[in-house]
C-alpha cells in the first residue's frame, strides 16, 4: 500500500518535471529555419556540387582515375605544335584540348576523392545545393567549352599531326636504317680495304 | 599468449602438429584441418589456460588460385586477453566445414553469412539459410568467379 502510494507519488513528480521541461521549451523561440526565405550559410568547404575551372584543366585525368563511382568522363586530344594553349593559373603548361569533361552528378557520391589529386586545383566542390532537376539527364554537367566543330577540327588536326609524326618517324627510321646500312657497308668496305 | 606460444602449448598438451604461418605484414595464423576443427575449437574455448570465450569474427574466403574455400576464425579471450587467428581450408567442390555454432552462439549468423556469400556448408548448423540475399538467389556473390544473374523473378538486376 505504502509502496503503491510512493510509486504514484514519484510517477506524478516525474511527470510534472517532464512537463516543466516541455513548458520551458514551449516558451522558448524555435530553432526552425524557414527554408526558402531564410537560408543557412554553408561553410566554404561544403561538398555539394562539383565545379571545374576548365581553363585550368591540363587534361591529366587524375580525377577520373580517383573517382570510385566513375562519374567523371574526360576525353582529351593532344594539341598540335602550332597552337599554344597557354598556361594555367598555377603555371602548368597545357598540352591537351579537353574535348569532353562530363560530370554526372546523379552518380556522384560527394566523396571529395577527385579534388586532392588535381595538380592545378581546377576541380573543386562548391557549396551550391539547389540544382535538382526533373530530368536525370540534366544532371550531366558538361564543362568542356569547345564547340562540336572545334572538336572535330582539333581532332582532325591532331590526327593529321599524328600521321605526320608517324610518317616522319617512319622516314626517320628508314633514314636511320639506310644510314646504318650505309655505315655497315662502309665499315665492311673499310674492313675489306684494311 | 602469442600465436606461437598458443601453438606450442596446444602441441605440447594435446599432441597436435600445428604450425603458425607468417605473412609479410600483419597477423599470423594457424591452419587446422576440417576434420579436427571442432575438437580444436572446443579445446581453445574450454582449456583453462586458453579460454577463448569470444569469437570476434568468422569470415569466409575464396582462394581462387588454389581452388579452395576457407574460413577464418578470429578468437579472443576476455579472461586472458589474448587473440588467435585460426583458419580452415576446404576444396571448392566439397566445401563442408563443421559448425562451431554450439560453442559460440555468435557463429550462427556469421556462418549463415559465409554460406550465403561464399558458399561454405557448415555441418551441424541449426538453420543454414541464406541471410543477406534472398533464399532463391543464384550463386555466391563473394566468390571471385561470381557472375550476377541477369534477372531475379523477372526483374532485371541491372546488367
Amino acid at each position: 500500500m505504502v509502496q503503491t502510494l510512493k510509486k504514484s507519488w514519484t510517477t506524478f513528480k516525474t511527470i510534472f518535471t517532464g512537463m516543466g521541461v516541455t513548458m520551458r521549451h514551449l516558451l522558448q523561440p524555435s530553432v526552425t529555419l524557414r527554408y526558402p526565405e531564410e537560408r543557412d550559410e554553408l561553410p566554404s568547404g561544403a561538398r555539394s556540387k562539383l565545379f571545374v575551372h576548365i581553363d585550368d584543366c591540363i587534361g591529366c585525368k587524375l580525377c577520373e582515375r580517383a573517382c570510385p563511382v566513375n562519374c567523371i568522363a574526360i576525353e582529351t586530344v593532344q594539341a598540335t605544335k602550332d597552337v599554344d594553349l597557354g598556361k594555367t593559373s598555377t603555371g602548368n603548361p597545357k598540352r591537351f584540348w579537353i574535348t569532353t569533361f562530363n560530370i554526372d552528378m546523379s552518380k556522384c557520391m560527394y566523396c571529395d576523392m577527385c579534388v586532392p589529386p588535381c595538380p592545378t586545383e581546377c576541380i573543386s566542390m562548391v557549396p551550391e545545393y539547389e540544382y535538382s532537376e526533373y530530368d536525370r539527364n540534366n544532371l550531366l554537367f558538361q564543362f568542356s567549352e569547345l564547340s562540336a566543330d572545334k572538336v572535330t577540327e582539333v581532332k582532325e588536326k591532331a590526327e593529321k599531326e599524328q600521321e605526320e609524326k608517324q610518317r616522319k618517324k617512319k622516314e626517320a627510321a628508314r633514314k636511320k636504317k639506310a644510314q646504318k646500312a650505309d655505315q655497315t657497308s662502309k665499315a665492311k668496305q673499310k674492313n675489306s680495304e684494311g | 599468449m602469442t600465436t606461437e606460444e598458443i601453438t606450442e602449448y596446444l602441441n605440447r598438451e594435446y599432441g597436435g602438429n600445428l604450425d603458425p604461418t607468417y605473412a609479410e605484414a600483419g597477423d599470423s595464423w594457424i591452419t587446422v584441418s576440417p576434420s579436427v576443427l571442432r575438437e580444436v575449437a572446443k579445446t581453445l574455448r574450454d582449456d583453462k589456460n586458453l579460454q577463448f570465450n569470444n569469437l570476434m569474427c568468422l569470415s569466409g574466403i575464396h582462394y581462387q588460385k588454389e581452388n579452395e574455400l576457407g574460413v577464418a576464425y578470429h578468437l579472443h579471450s576476455t579472461i586472458h586477453d589474448h587473440k588467435l587467428v585460426m583458419k580452415v581450408r576446404v576444396p571448392e567442390d566439397n566445401p563442408v566445414v563443421p559448425s562451431v555454432e554450439s560453442l559460440w552462439k555468435t557463429a550462427n549468423w556469421h556462418e549463415r553469412e559465409a554460406y550465403d556469400l561464399v558458399g561454405i556448408t557448415f555441418r551441424g548448423h541449426p538453420g543454414l539459410l541464406r541471410i543477406l540475399t534472398p533464399q532463391d538467389w543464384e550463386g555466391h556473390p563473394l566468390r571471385k568467379d561470381y557472375e550476377q544473374q541477369e534477372s531475379y523473378r523477372n526483374v532485371s538486376t541491372g546488367i
Binding site: T4, S8, I15, G18, M19, V21, T22, M23, H25, L26, Q28, S30, V31, T32, R34 | -
Partner: protein, 331 residues
Amino acid sequence: MALLIFATLPLLLIVGYALFAIWLERKVSAHIQDRLGPMRVGGWHGWAQTIADMLKLIQKEDIIPTNASRFLFKSAPFVLFAASYAAFSVIPFSSAYIGSSINIGVFYLLAVTSLLTLSVIMGAWASNNKWSLLGGMRTAAQMVSYEVPTIMSVLSVLVVAGSLNLMTISEMQTGNDILGFLPNWLIFQNPFLIVAFIIFFISIVAESHRVPFDLPESESELVAGFQTEYSGMRWGIFMLAEYADMLLLSLLGAVLFFGGWASPFGSYLSGPVWGFIWFMLKGLLFVFVMMWMRWTLPRYRVDQLMEICWTILIPVSFINFVLIALWEMTF
C-alpha cells in the same frame, strides 16, 4: 426547420473545433519541440492548414481492403462519430443553450459514449489486418476498464450535486461564495472531489486514448492500431471523432468539477454569451493539458495500463466515493 438549425449548431461547433484543435495540436507540438509547425497555408501561422488537409482528404480515393468486411468497415467511422455527436446533445453549452435538458443527462452521456468502443472494434475487426485486430483488442479492454473509474468519479460528483441533469448541475455552481472569493464550483465544495477529479482526468485521458494511454493506435508498436487500413475521408472522420471525443469528455469534466458555463467571477462577466466562452475556455484548457502531456510522456504498456486501472484507480475511486458520501453526511 428551426429544430434542424438547432441541431446543426453543435455539428458546426464540433467540426470547427476539430479543425482548430488539430491545428492547435500541431502548433503545441511544434513549439514544445522548438519547431514552428505549419506556417504557410492561410497566412498567419498557417491557420488554414487543417482546412486544406481536410479538402485533400475528401478528394482522396476511398480504399477498402479486398478481404475486409465491407459493410462494417465502411460504417465504423460513422458509428463512432454519431456516438460522440449524440453525446453532445446533453452538454449545456451556456445557460441558454442545451440540446436536451433531460433528467438523466449524465447517465445518457455515459451510455452513449460506450458506443465508441463498439465502433472501434467494428473498424478494427472489419479491416482484416493483424495490427488493427491487436489495436481493437487493446481498445476494448482499455475502454471498458477505464469506464469504471470514470463512472465512479462521476458518481461522487452526483452525490454532492444531487442531480443527473447537467443543466441543473451547472446552475447550482454559479456565484462565488466559498471563503468569500472562490467560485461555487463543485471541486471547491468538497476536498475529496479533488481526488475524484484527478481520477476522472486520468480516466478521460485513457478514454479518449491520448498519451500516455494511447495504446489503441500506438504508432511505434501497432503502426496505427485500429485505423491502419483506413484512408481518405474515413480516416478523417476517425480523427474528427477522436478530437470531438476529447472535447466532449473535457467539457463533461468542466461541467462536473469546474462549474460548466459559470463565470469564475460570480455574476461579473456572466450571461449566455460569456457563459459559452467560459465553458469553451475551460474545456480547451483540459484539451491543451492533454496535448501538453502527449508531447511530453512516453506511453504505458498494455498490461501496465490495466494494472493502473484495476489496482489503483478503481480501489481509490471506491474509497473516495465512500469518503465523499461521509463528508456530505457530516457537513
